[in-house]
Every structure is written in structure tokens, then in C-alpha cells.
Symmetry: C2
Subunit: 301 residues, 2 copies
Amino acid sequence: MTYSISDLEQLSGIHSHTIRIWEQRYKALSPMRSQGNTRLYDDRQLRKLLNIVSLTKSGFKISKICSLSDEGIDKLFDQQFSYSSDDEQADYYISQLISYGLAFDECSFNDLIDQGIYKLGLSDCYRKIIYPLLVRLGLMWRKDDICPAHEHFLCNIIRQKIFTHINNLQLTGHSGEKWLLFLPEDEDHDIGLLFASYMLRMHHHQVIFLGSKVPLDSIKRVLSTVKVSHVLFFMIKSRLASTAQKIIDQLSEICSSTKIHLAGNSEVIGKLNRIDHINWFKTLGEFEKTIQYPVLHERNF
Amino acid sequence: MTYSISDLEQLSGIHSHTIRIWEQRYKALSPMRSQGNTRLYDDRQLRKLLNIVSLTKSGFKISKICSLSDEGIDKLFDQQFSYSSDDEQADYYISQLISYGLAFDECSFNDLIDQGIYKLGLSDCYRKIIYPLLVRLGLMWRKDDICPAHEHFLCNIIRQKIFTHINNLQLTGHSGEKWLLFLPEDEDHDIGLLFASYMLRMHHHQVIFLGSKVPLDSIKRVLSTVKVSHVLFFMIKSRLASTAQKIIDQLSEICSSTKIHLAGNSEVIGKLNRIDHINWFKTLGEFEKTIQYPVLHERNF
DNA sequence: TTTTTTGTTTAAATATATTTAATAAAATTT
DNA sequence: AAATTTTATTAAATATATTTAAACAAAAAA
């Protein structure tokens, strides 16, 4: 599997021009070449680029970063983005879960995650264990400690858990608020969205869950079929500001009479324009506060 | 959303040259053009191409098909690929489920599918209702009766059901056979694979479920970590024979000491070369027979 | 401020993909 | 077997993407 320079542009959010000049000036990447001299990158190079970008965003200068050896960059990245958190118990769970994942040991993973959910409830388990686990998986891929198969394996067990909990919810009545949940066409990671679906249902909201890879056009058709109060979507991947902006503008036009909510990568969302009408959930807490309110309101009647 | 001619080539399995000559000779498609005269296709054109291809495979001549009006082609396609089956009760379920899906009425869909699973068991419900429902959804998209949002909505509820049933399996011991399940990078539809996972677990096989979009490289890493007896994957999409062959050859090299099983689109799989060492499940029945055998064998001890 | 570092813009050359058109090969029909 | 229909191959022209290189502009550091 190889990437073109425009693939890297999309995946890293760094213009191809800049990728080239980093190569020329600082030897940042050393891509293979096609027969006709076109740059070809592999996963290792993509990882390196993503790590370099993260370090620049942490304030390191590109010249300084690239003066280091590959190992030096990895070490600096390790330093800046380490696995440990402040919650010891959660860290234990996470490390243990990942070590089961690395061995593709579904039974043990399953037992331990069930235990976590049983002790904390799904909501707190997600906040304290599952979400940090997903973040760590992303980091581990970037440090080449895991491969995509590990991620797929773990994510599908987690999906299984959240789907099961959604399925087992015994809902009586609802708030009258209807939420439409989806991810745009270039997004893959639907676990956060799935958890949002669970939380909304917990709080007696109706949910239309579309999952990932939904063409924006078909959102229009949903809105013309059903009365929807809220649209929620995520932008998790790094992308070019222009790509992200295009999605926002197009969706805003479609959802002129529906409240839009957005969560995800603050690097990307922070750079967006014309989002005054959009509600940005910067934390999980903000989301929970928003969805709880209407229920309290209902209780007051 | 627009497609290039090479996108259409990948999605339909028809060479771009042929798509052009069909346009020139028979006015098969009439794509928009970019500023610089490059063909641009939309969903409507893609649908039409797919329908034309299906009709040619049914024995109609391209010249005859294209001599018809758009409506004529739709009508002929309707005739050849109609929704009805021979099982009246299943047809009732399917129509009803789809009508709930069209209205995004999750509650009703949920109740009815639960009822179907309760009456038939998940296995028979899948065979008689869910699988034909998925086939009909595909047809409906090609007839422009539904949009991607409908499909996403329904598929996620179905996913929820199968995941829940997998989660609720109480497994005691296992056969010793370990199966690795995945879809290659260009495949999306993981419901069949998920059902296969359920069936295998039912029959006390161990499963490593990776889901869709797994790079072949990382399959190698799984096989070097864990002892796997069987690898199962699907090829459902239409593609160029050469694209499909490449996947097969690459996987065969990786899985030199593991039995490979394959299921999916017989149009595509039928054209493959060098698959003597691969087991092709042509029907669901064949799959069930294969996975039952080792269990019977075990009982004989 | 001045210098250095960094990222963007521009331009011309080249590579790759697409278009058009003509021809060869294969498959079907007569 | 011959004629017809259909698909594959080839070649030259054009469109689009990528490469290289230089000049420019903005930001940060001295």
C-alpha cells in the first residue's frame, strides 16, 4: 500500500507544496519514486509526517525536528505524547485490554471490558477507559506499536458492546427531540458516534443513526422525510482546512432549519469559518449537559 | 458527488474504453464534462451503467438495451430483477421492514425484526429475511427507490441485532478451529461477514473478526502472531477481474499455510484464476455444512 | 529593527490519465 | 463459413497532477 503526495496532503492536513519543501530543505521524508519520478509514500513515512506535524503543533520548529534522527523524532514524540494518564485504575484496564488485543485474545478482552462496564456503567466506562483506549490505539499506530488489524479487532469488540447496550435499553416514551447522527464520507471511526447514540437514547431522545460514509446529499433526503431537531456529526481525521470547510458549508446549506452539532478534532474545527450557527461540543461533558437539559425540562411538567 | 471514468470502471467492472465506446455507438450514458472536457458521472449514470451491465449479463445485447429509452431500460430491469420471491411470509416481513425503513421508523422496524428473529431464530431469520432484504435494498438503490441514508439506517439496526446476538452467546469450550474474518480494503458491506462470525461462534469455532477495510499487509501480521486454521473473506462488489485477481494472488502468498475461504459475487469470483487452493462458498448452505462438520466430528469421540 | 525561519505563490517541464479515432481480435449470429 | 456484433488494442492529442526551482510574503527570533 502506497500513498501519493495528495493522499498525504489529505491525511496530514499539510499542503503538498509544504511537504515537498520540507523534504528539500530539511530532508523530512525520503519517499520512494515511481518509474516516472512521482513520489510514493508508505505507512512508515505517513507516520513520520503525522508525528512531525504533531510536534510542530506542540511548538517545536520544523528545522529542529528534522535535524534529529528518526529515532530522535520518535523519542521526542514519545516524550510529548506518552501513554500514561492520571487515573491509575483506568491505566491498568487500558494496558491490560491492549495487551489482550495484541494477542487477539477475545475471551480475555471481553471478560475484562465486561467487568469495566459492570463496575462503572457504560457511560463512565466509555469516558474513563474506552475513549482513552481509542486515543492510545491511535498513538500506538503512530509509534508503530500496533498494526491496523489490532485496531480493527479491538474496535469491533467495542462496537459489539455499545450496540448490545443500545439494543438492551428499555425505553419508555421520549423527549420529542429527534437527532440525526452521521459521519461524512471521508470519516471511518464510528465508535464515538455510536456512543453518542447510546447517550442520547439513555436520555430519551430519538435517534436516527446512519453511521459512517454518508453522502451529504442523502442527508437532504432524510430531512425532507422526517422532522429532525438536531444533526450531530464528527470530524475526527486531520484534513486540509479547505476540505473541512467545504463539508461545513454544504451541510449548512442543507440543514438550514435544523440545529447542527459538531465534535471532533479541535485542530481542524478550530480553523473553520462561518460556524457561528453550529454548536461545537469541545468536551464530552458539554455534550452530556446539552442532552440532559431537555429531560430535566420535561420532568418539570 | 461525481465519479471519473476510472471510478465507474472500478465500480462496474467494465473497462473505461468500453464505457466510452458504448457512449459513442449507443449513447449508453451521457456524462457531464469538466471544464477541460473530462467525463463526470453522477449517481444516476452509475445506476444506469450497472443496470445495463446486469442486462448484458442476462443475455441482452448492448445494442438492443441502449436502443431503449431510460424508462424502457428501467422497465426491462424491473422485469428481469423483480423484488418478489417465493416465500410469501418472508416477502411480507421484507416489504414491511422496508416501508418502516423508508420512514426512518426505528421503533417499528426494531419490533418487527425482533419478532422475526424470535420466531425463526437469528440463523433462519438471516437466511429468509435479512439477506433477501439486503439484496432488495441493493436493487432498490439501482432503481432509485431508496438513497444511501436509508441503507445506512437499516444496516446499522441489523448490525445492532447481530452484534447483540453474538454478545449474548454463552460459549462453553470450542472446537480448536480458529477463523480469521475480514473484508479487503475496497469492500464496505460487513453484515454478511458479521453473520458468518455469529454462525461460526454458534458452532463453537473461535473467531478473530476484523471487519471491513483491512489492509492485506496486516493480515500477515495476524498470522505471525496467532495460529489460525481458516481465513474467510468476501468479494461482494463488482470490480475489474484484474483488481480482484490481485487481491487473490496477494492473499494467497500471505496465507500459504492457512486454508482460504471465499464468498460473494459469483460474477467476479467465477472469473478468477489460480483459485484451486481456495474454497469458494457458493451458497449459505455450503458454508453451514462446512462449519458443522468439525463439530459432528468432535462429538464422535 | 534586522535577520532568520517558515510557508505560499508562481512558472515551466514532465508524468499520468483521459479523449478521440482507427484498427485488430474475439464472440455471436446468420 | 461468412457476416455481424461486440470488445480489446493502439496511437496521437489534450487535460490534469506532479515535479522542480525560484521568488515572494509572513511570522518568529535575534
